[in-house]
């Protein structure tokens, strides 16, 4: 199911970027240099690259054996983590065609399932990597090691796009698309003329995004391009109705303190935003006006209040001649999570 073979064509090295056209703020900014892909990823050497939930249910297991597994697995759940019982239920829902059938048809041998569960409970490997998906909005997004698991906060970005007048017919770009969650969700709302150009510098992300685009039949609407931020869009300057990005924004110093599921297992490339976490966000601000059409919309996700306030201030003072209605937007936890605005 993974389109790895066909995807590799896009991994051909791209020509080195021309010096950035917008140098206005060059002194204040250090454009981030792309790190090597899949830093911090935690791949299983013998792991089937097809996400568990998409593999064929080819392993019959008698109901009593599955019940025994359920008991053993539940016994591993520490009292401090009752939510893991829910994960066990979900694991079985994803790993079996019908967990209550006898025999149940599993998508992996029972022994593998046991090993997967152990890695989740003991090694804190994210549940989403175990089953190979995250339920995000109304989508089931395929994920695997090397690609960021889409966050619930980010769901709101799609809503914001949907509020832009005439969005259906526009061309959009999702920079740092990761799993492609945003790109697919936006593409599904677009009309026949609408398009999404999704970029990422990580090859794993490109592969996974391609899989998700294909799973939702969005190949005609989403074009995936490999490269750093705006570089793959040189031919599309000034064409976009909107720029969407959830770039890495965590300050480097905060990385060691992250929750193990995140810090140990998710790619550093998707999280590390440099010293203040603003490296990529500032780089994106810098390139915005060259890719957006006049009147075009942008939305960035940020680390929260301080970053958003800084960016709003930054864009509406220094760049007042380029943008209007720049504002911070709250997430569901009342944190100023997003910065949105329009190009003049």
């Amino acid at each position: 199911m993974l389109a790895s073979a066909s995807a590799s064509a896009s991994f051909l090295p791209r020509p080195k970027p021309k010096p950035h056209l917008l140098k206005r703020l060059a002194s204040a900014l250090t454009p981030p240099s792309p790190l090597s892909p899949s830093t911090g990823a935690d791949p299983d050497p013998d792991q089937d690259p097809t996400p568990l939930f998409l593999r064929p249910p080819a392993h019959p297991v008698p109901a009593p054996s599955l019940a025994a597994f359920r008991r053993r697995a539940a016994a591993l759940v520490p009292p401090s983590a009752p939510h893991l019982h829910r994960h066990l239920r979900w694991l079985l829902a994803d790993a079996a065609h019908d967990p209550d059938a006898d025999p149940a048809l599993l998508r992996a041998p029972l022994g593998d399932l046991e090993a997967l569960w152990l890695r989740h409970v003991r090694d804190r490997r994210p549940f989403q990597y175990v089953v190979g998906n995250e339920h995000w909005r109304d989508l089931v997004v395929a994920v695997r090691e090397g690609v960021l698991i889409p966050r619930p906060e980010t769901e709101a970005v799609v809503e914001m796009v949907g509020r832009v007048e005439g969005f259906e017919a526009g061309w959009w770009t999702d920079l740092g698309t990761g799993s492609g969650a945003i790109a697919v969700a936006v593409a599904r709302m677009l009309g026949p003329e609408g398009k999404v150009f999704a970029t990422d510098v990580s090859e794993v992300a490109i592969e996974v995004a391609r899989l998700n685009v294909q799973r939702y039949g969005m190949q005609d609407k989403v074009q995936i391009r490999h490269g750093s931020w705006f570089e793959p869009l040189e031919d599309l300057k000034g064409k976009f109705m909107g720029v969407i990005s959830n770039p890495p924004y965590i300050p480097t110093d905060d990385l060691p303190g992250l929750q193990p599921e995140v810090g140990w297992h998710e790619p550093k490339l998707a999280l590390d935003g440099g010293k203040d976490g603003l490296d990529h966000l500032l780089h994106l601000c810098e390139g915005l006006s060259s890719v957006l059409k006049p009147g075009g919309f942008f939305v960035f996700e940020t680390n929260g209040n301080k970053q958003s306030e800084f960016l709003v201030d930054f864009l509406s003072t220094k760049w007042d001649s380029s943008f209007h209605d720049v504002e911070a937007v709250l997430d569901f936890a009342d944190i100023k999570r997003f910065v949105t605005g329009y190009r003049r």
């Binding site: 549940f127 914001m160 999280l271 997430d331």
Partner: protein, 244 residues
Amino acid sequence: MARALLRIARCYSPLSSPTPRLPPPLHRRASPPLRFLSVSLSSPSPAESAASSDGPSDVRKGEDGRSGWDDHLAMSDDELMGQCEMGTFKASGPGGQHRNKRESAVRLRHRPTGIIAQAVEDRSQHKNRASALSRLRTLIALKVRKPINLEEYTPPVELLQILPLKSTIRGKDAGPQIGPNNSKFAPGMQALLDLLFAVEGSVSEAAKILGLSTGAVSRLILSDDSLRIAANELRAAKGLKPLK
């Protein structure tokens, strides 16, 4: 639906206009003139209860102290969501990229009525939000009573749609009978309870108005657990025995 969740933060930005841009006003259906009461206050407790159960919750006048009847069930999901607070996620740390948490429970508090609805069972917060919202609609239908002037009363179409076909007042254009699993059942249920409230809990009185036998109305009430419970609470308040 979730778009109503996006509220614009007021950010100080020296060069933008001093008044923050607010989300567009909600478009509400104009209230029919006869609907005048806000909500019945079934609990006297003024304290904000932290209870987040799915079960019946206190119905109080919202803090905006709105008078005048709002037809909440006629609102779109977006509009209704705009009247809700999502409380679960406060103080949940920095969030965003920092965090892996599949806890996707959603708890909605409907400001005008104080009704709380939540959903926890789905893996996607998006879906939990949708089911919490549909639960909220049911709870509003069950708990928010509006008085009816029986002299001028004609059953609204929402009510006609949930009646069995043999009702003599139903008419062809009401379409097939809508059952409890349909999202349009909630407004019909609300109208039925309003009527039952107006006739002081008497099923036979309601049946006469609805062109049905008493047995048929009882069966309709008993066809849905929450409707039965609400009807029986209402009857108990009038000293009538429960329908079984």
